[in-house]
């Protein structure tokens, strides 16, 4: 159902996407008050607890509502509150399934993907007809790089309940990983069309995902339009602000990117968002601000190095690009690759190996990432440079060309063009010497 898209589907998709921009929000009747969807869920759950304090389900509902609020705000404190609610739920009915599912969501939110994966698989064996358990398996599997298992779980979801939103969203993420951007956008838009107009954060989240997918292939204007729409649906949405900053970076509008990231970092900044801000400042030529932001990033990222929710991949990139500490980068990357082998971690590991002169191993690792099928300009650029380091000039030229074809607006595009020119000149020299 979800691997390949054809031309007809693409036409249909374009119509749907067009309607995303033009669709009126007349159906957007909001629920009473000005609560966000998660706040509304919290209120419902609290009212339900008042009415049925001795039932476990209202506490599960409260936990899920807190988890939703965590995604709305980026405030990890809501996971603690969710766990408190779940403790009460389990006190009433130990190991109740809905509570366990909420527990898995908490683990995911905290970046504890291995534990989430194990727990989801355990309960999936006990309750094989529960849709969301497949979703949780897929989420964790994607984070850990277990793509076949993720695909299997998502396909189950789509087969069990055709057109279900959680399945479509996860299918879209997988399609993107497999390099099928039109297919990913098609699933995202199908899911989007079904979402209730009151689910403003979910709508904005989906639009942001679509924007990221568009940006990954250089469709900067489309990405921006989607993000503006996301910010209308859920104003000051931090994920959309981060993504919009990436749009501005792609446009080389570094000051605007920095401004957006400053706004985003006003509440609950992550190490990754601090890193993005530091880079924007640096590109904008604001050296002082960049320095401060890098220091803040370093402090945060180093503080999280051993925790599940870390910014180790960003730390690797920082050590290699600015920190001038390839040895530390490799050490961190090795630590990460021991835990997960998703494409981002594989790429970070490969890049760290390359920086440490281990191009042969680097090529092996980056090839694993590329083999998944992803179309990512950065990974292709890294693959090209690593191949060049291996003196595999034809592969190097190929990957650099693919990087530029994939996203001519990528941040690495200038470097990729320079490397390609260098390779072309070198090969011309070889030909002339012959």
């Amino acid at each position: 159902m979800f691997l390949v898209t054809n031309g007809e589907e693409m036409k249909a998709f374009n119509l749907v996407v067009a309607s995303l921009f033009t669709a009126s929000v007349t159906c957007g009747q909001t629920l009473p008050g000005t609560r966000t969807p998660a706040e509304q869920k919290i209120a419902w759950a609290e009212a339900s607890i008042k009415a049925h304090a001795d039932h476990s389900q209202p506490y599960n509902d409260l936990a899920v509502a807190y988890i939703a609020r965590a995604r709305e705000t980026a405030d990890p404190g809501y996971y603690d509150r969710a766990e408190d609610a779940l403790r009460t739920s389990f006190g009433l009915i130990p190991e109740n399934l809905e509570g366990e599912k909420a527990q898995i969501m908490v683990l995911q939110g905290r970046g504890e993907f291995s534990r989430a994966f194990d727990l989801a698989r355990t309960f999936n064996k006990k309750t094989p007809d529960d849709l969301l358990l497949y979703g949780f398996i897929a989420d964790a599997a994607v984070e850990l790089g277990e793509y076949p298992e993720a695909e299997n779980a998502v396909q189950w979801m789509l087969d069990m309940r055709p057109g279900n939103v959680p399945g479509l969203l996860r299918g879209a993420a997988l399609r993107r990983l497999y390099g099928d951007i039109p297919g990913a956008l098609q699933f995202f838009s199908q899911a989007y069309q079904q979402m209730a107009p009151t689910q403003t954060e979910e709508l904005a989240w989906t639009l942001t995902q679509m924007a990221d997918a568009q940006l990954s292939v250089g469709h900067v204007d489309d990405a921006e339009a989607l993000l503006r729409s996301a910010l209308q649906k859920f104003p000051a949405y931090y994920l959309a602000q981060e993504s919009l900053a990436r749009v501005q970076m792609a446009r080389r509008h570094y000051s605007e990117a920095a401004q957006l990231l400053q706004q985003r970092n006003q509440s609950f900044p992550t190490a990754a968002s601090r890193y993005a801000l530091a880079r924007a400042f640096e590109h904008a030529g604001q050296a002082g601000e960049a320095e401060t932001a890098y220091r803040e990033f370093e402090a945060t990222a180093h503080g999280q190095r051993d925790s599940a929710m870390n910014a180790n991949r960003e730390l690797v990139a920082y050590d290699l690009d600015r920190g001038h500490n390839p040895a530390e980068a490799l050490q961190i990357a090795r630590g990460e690759i021991a835990k997960r082998h998703d494409i981002r971690t594989l790429d970070a590991y490969a890049w760290a190996l390359h920086a440490n002169g281990q191009d042969r191993e680097a090529q092996k690792q980056v090839s694993k990432a590329i083999a998944v099928g992803v179309r990512d300009a950065l990974i292709f650029y890294h693959a090209g440079v690593i191949a060049e380091g291996q003196n595999d000039l034809s592969s190097a030229a190929h990957f650099l060309k693919v990087s530029l074809e994939t996203n001519p607006e990528a941040e690495t595009a200038t470097a990729a063009r320079a490397a390609l020119d260098r390779l072309t000149a070198a090969s011309a020299e070889v030909r002339s010497s012959k």
Binding site: A12, A23, S24, T26, C27, Q29, L31, P37, S48, H52, H55, Q57, P58, N60, D61, V64, E98, K101, A102, D130, L131, L132, R161, P162, G163, N164, V165, P166, G167, L168, Q190, A191, Q193, Q194, M195, A196, P197, T198, Q199, E202
Partner: protein, 443 residues
């Protein structure tokens, strides 16, 4: 009028799996008994409680007894207490929206429908309820937007057709409201074809034919309406809506004895106040005041049976009081109360009619202009508008609306069609040029 109560319940009938609608009450009772026993044995089974809630809803639909909606609500609450944050809870959540629609709590219905959608089950049915609630709240554009989501791109051909059927029946109503009567009929015809080709239960097919008949009748196409109602009764003998629909046709054909018999049969199945009122009007038409009075008393009795009935029948009672010049102050209170929750064109019409009967002509004119604002081509609306504008002294508008109403359907009501003709004659006389004798007369 009945359109709004029935449609949401239809959702369950199409997608309720084992609970697919067969309107035979004994079948529903059998389902209820089985599910009641199941929830006793498995008190933690959310799906069984959801099924029980849906079964009570079905019973409510068959009997018209509002108490069944309350039982449905209790069962669904129990289901949602067991499972509420999972796509599997979408069915029970959607059914809660249906309960709210049946109880005319449109705001709540919309909230529950949106909650069901937020569960992301992949079932677009909640869009239908959301659209129904929005339509009842008078937001027709948003309703159309919601209904458009019923045209799903996935699922089997039968599923697509089933959702397309839901889309067509609902959009047909919206088209009628917007004055595109022929489009409305075309869409309902399309729905009939889809209902048959997807082998829907007989009662669903009969319902669709009945709706088609209603649309034909409103368009003044009496023969086509008769055919549709007879087909409905052929598919589902004894179907109360078909009987009432055919009764209206017989009234239009001036076959009052048949109309009386049909209304009595319909009332024997489901005692809807609007059937009793219509029957009373037929008796009145043939000069049988005693039986008319009995039916009119019955209207109020049914409407006041329970608190929920009062909520559900506010608008019907307000119209009934205004139509029959009784309890006019109460009529206005009820109509205004209805307006608090329902701001569709038909509520504005009843408010206007009630204001008119209470002598508040200017306010009535404002209200009827809102009722006519969508361009609906409904003889009853035009009749009300005609009399309101006549009293307001705007003879030109009054004539225009009365003529238009009678042109669309000269038999729109057993009593009011005559009154419309009389009013039109009065207005025509007023605008006739005066005779020379009148001109020369001193006095």
């Amino acid at each position: 009028m009945t359109h709004k109560i029935l449609l949401p319940v239809l959702i369950f009938s199409l997608f309720g799996g084992a609970l697919a609608t067969r309107a035979q009450q004994d079948e529903t009772n059998g389902t209820l008994r089985s599910l009641q026993s199941r929830v006793k044995r498995y008190p933690e089974d959310a799906a069984s409680f959801a099924g029980l809630g849906a079964a009570y809803l079905q019973k409510g639909r068959e009997t018209g007894d509002a108490a069944d909606f309350e039982s449905a609500r209790s069962a669904l609450e129990k289901s949602l207490d067991l499972l509420s944050n999972d796509p599997a809870a979408a069915f029970a959540t959607t059914q809660m929206a249906v309960v709210c629609m049946a109880e005319h709590r449109f705001d709540d219905a919309l909230a529950w429908a949106q909650k069901a959608l937020a569960l992301g089950s992949g079932d677009p049915s909640p869009w239908a309820i959301a659209g129904d609630a929005l339509a009842d709240m008078g937001d027709y554009t948003a309703a159309a937007d919601a209904y458009s989501k019923l045209e799903v791109p996935f699922g089997s051909e039968d599923e697509k057709l089933a959702f397309s059927y839901q889309h067509d029946t609902r959009m047909s109503f919206l088209r009628f409201v917007s004055g595109d009567t022929q489009d409305a009929i075309d869409l309902m015809n399309s729905a009939v074809r889809k209902a048959i080709s997807t082998h829907m239960p007989a009662e669903n097919i009969a319902w669709t034919y009945y709706q088609l008949g209603e649309e034909f009748l409103k368009a003044g196409q009496v023969t086509a309406a008769e055919k549709a109602d007879l087909t409905a009764l052929n598919w589902y003998p004894g179907y109360y809506r078909g009987l009432a629909g055919l009764a209206k046709v017989r009234v239009a054909q001036a076959n009052y004895q048949d109309a009386i018999a049909l209304y009595m049969k319909a009332l024997g199945v489901v005692p809807y106040p609007e059937y009793a009122a219509a029957l009373g009007d037929v008796y009145q038409k043939i000069g049988d005041s005693e039986n008319a009075k009995k039916q009119y008393e019955l209207v109020e009795f049914i409407g006041r049976l329970s608190e929920i009935n009062q909520e559900i029948h506010n608008r019907d009672l307000a119209l009934f009081y205004a139509d029959h010049d009784v309890k006019l102050d109460q009529s206005l209170i009820l109509a205004r109360k209805e307006l608090e929750v329902r701001r569709d064109i038909y509520t504005w019409d009843v408010v206007a009619w009630s204001l008119y009967k209470n002598g508040k002509t200017q306010e009535a004119a404002s209200a009827i202009s809102l009722a006519l604002g969508q361009g609906t081509r409904d003889a009853q609306l035009f009749f009300h508008a005609g009399l309101i504008y006549e009293k307001a002294g705007d003879s030109a508008k009054a004539r225009k609306y009365l003529e238009e109403g009678l042109r669309i359907n000269p038999h729109f009501h057993p009593l009011y069609a005559d009154i419309a003709n009389e009013a039109l004659a009065r207005l025509t006389q007023k605008t006739m040029p005066a005779t020379s004798q009148e001109v020369s007369s001193v006095r």
